[in-house]
């Protein structure tokens, strides 16, 4: 099994296994995201939809003085392409098995810092997967500097798990208070769009309004139940993890949210590590 080489074996602490699995998944997502960005260099060019020339006008500090000049070099082409290529390299380094610990720490720190830089460059075109990358990579980078302190590494996985269960509960609660999600209009409305929908699913939900309503309820109830993964009995907790993974796989297939699959499933090893009945501790 190739995976055995990528994930540490039996003698390793549970927290370090969780951190390694998180690292693998988040790195895979960043590799994908970087390759996608490098395939469309025109989007970040000066005349593109994610132009730094426009993005920098959000703040006076970003267009004036030496900081402005430095940001221009990094965020305009070809600097932005170099930055993306370096992120691709860093994510590959962190994904590889074994390797130099200091190199991996440097690579993960680079990914964490550049996640913030990319948000500074502009939020247009960004989504929740970028935010998941930020919280996960920052916690992973911090954990790399505390190889001697298991408590800190546990705090890092607890932070990732906390953000993960918060994300699902918040998404569910915001839907629960919405009449659109309670009466089925939301599912029907989303899936009729070409942007986040799919023609066949849209047709099905239109034909069967009860299915749209059940689907809407299923989404927000499932999201709000997700934090129970931390305390629920093993079969129920495992089912929540399975449902979460299937949810993101479905969103990738039918809604075009492919990067979410990697960035949110990257939080699951930490969630499992802090789950009362799923943890390998």
């Amino acid at each position: 099994m190739a995976l055995v080489d990528f994930v540490p074996g039996d003698g390793t602490l549970s927290v370090d296994k969780a951190l390694r699995e998180t690292e693998l998944l988040i790195s895979a997502g960043i590799i994908l995201s970087s390759l996608e960005a490098l395939c469309r260099p025109q989007d970040v060019d000066d005349g593109g939809l994610m132009s730094w020339r426009i993005g920098r006008t959000r703040s006076k500090a970003m267009v004036s003085g030496r900081p402005g000049e430095a940001l221009d070099k990094v965020f305009s082409a070809p600097g932005i392409h170099l930055l993306t290529s370096l992120r691709l390299t860093a994510a590959t380094v962190t994904a590889l098995p074994n390797g130099d610990r200091r190199a991996k720490a440097a690579a993960m720190t680079f990914l964490a810092v550049t996640n913030f830089l990319l948000q500074l460059r502009g939020s247009y075109g960004g989504d929740g997967s970028d935010h998941a990358n930020i919280v996960v990579c920052t916690a992973l980078a911090i954990s790399k500097f505390f190889g001697h302190d298991e408590k800190v590494r546990n705090a890092c996985t607890a932070f990732i798990a906390g953000q993960s269960v918060t994300s699902y509960f918040a998404a569910g609660l915001a839907k629960a208070i919405s009449p659109y999600w309670r009466d089925g209009r939301a599912m029907r409305g989303i899936f009729r769009t070409r942007t986040y929908g799919e023609k066949h699913v849209g047709t099905l939900l239109k034909k069967y309004p009860l299915l749209a309503k059940a689907g809407g309820w299923g989404v927000w109830v499932g999201e709000m139940l997700f934090p129970l993964v931390l305390v629920a009995p093993r079969p129920f907790a495992a089912a929540l993890i399975g449902t979460g993974t299937s949810f993101h796989a479905g969103n990738a297939a039918f809604m075009g949210l492919n990067r979410f699959l990697w960035s949110f499933s990257a939080t699951y090893p930490s969630v499992i590590h802090h789950s009362k009945h799923l943890s390998r501790r």
Partner: protein
């Protein structure tokens, strides 16, 4: 000696006895930073989106995630960016759609590089809507806003123009997606016309 090896690995993660004050301070610093970050994140997920005080402090949006996806009211329309040119005689070319959303394909599960560009149109519509509730009037202050400039910059520099085009204009339209045969598209925003600075033009 697997037992000894296993013990050594398991104890390696613990701080040594009598660990220094600096190590303890660093640990509590991490607890403080990550704990505060998580607490602020939780507070800012208020479901009605009316509480914005803390989020306004995070101008880049990098520090406080917004996990309230597609809620409370999800987008139930497609948004379209259309472009036309004004010709020397004052007439206009027909409207042409640009940044068309890719039809859903199974490959999108693995690979969807156009997704971010498509999302920019949605972000620009949301921000323009927030700037000006009645978007049919194009005011000057809107014309120097980031969403307006983002779209104008793009339609000026990356959209092909008529060889004789002197000026460019864009329009944002909402449609009912796959239901567009049953529901008329709605014009959300009509930009001003802007000169094309063309070499030799």
């Amino acid at each position: 000696m697997p037992g000894i090896k296993s013990h050594a690995v398991r104890t390696a993660g613990r701080p040594a006895a009598g660990e220094g004050a600096a190590a303890i301070a660093a640990r509590y610093l991490v607890y403080g930073v990550l704990g505060t970050w998580l607490a602020v994140t939780v507070v800012c997920q208020e479901p009605t989106r009316k509480f914005k005080k803390l989020r306004n402090w995070d101008s880049t949006g990098a520090f406080i995630p917004d996990w309230r996806f597609f809620a409370p009211r999800p987008g139930m329309h497609d948004h379209h960016l259309l472009v036309r040119n004004e010709l020397p005689d004052g007439s206009y070319t027909p409207w042409q759609e640009t940044v068309e959303v890719e039809p859903r394909r199974w490959q999108h599960f693995f690979w969807y590089p156009a997704r971010r560009a498509e999302k920019v149109i949605l972000d620009a519509v949301v921000n323009l809507t927030a700037l000006q509730p009645d978007l049919k009037d194009s005011k000057e202050d809107v014309q120097v806003s980031v969403p307006y400039l983002t779209l104008l910059n793009y339609v000026t520099h990356q959209v092909p123009h008529h060889p004789d085009g002197k000026r460019v204009q864009f329009m944002l339209v909402a449609s009912a997606g796959y239901d567009d045969a049953e529901e008329e598209p709605t014009v959300l925003f009509l930009s001003g016309t802007h000169a094309l600075n063309r070499q030799g033009g």
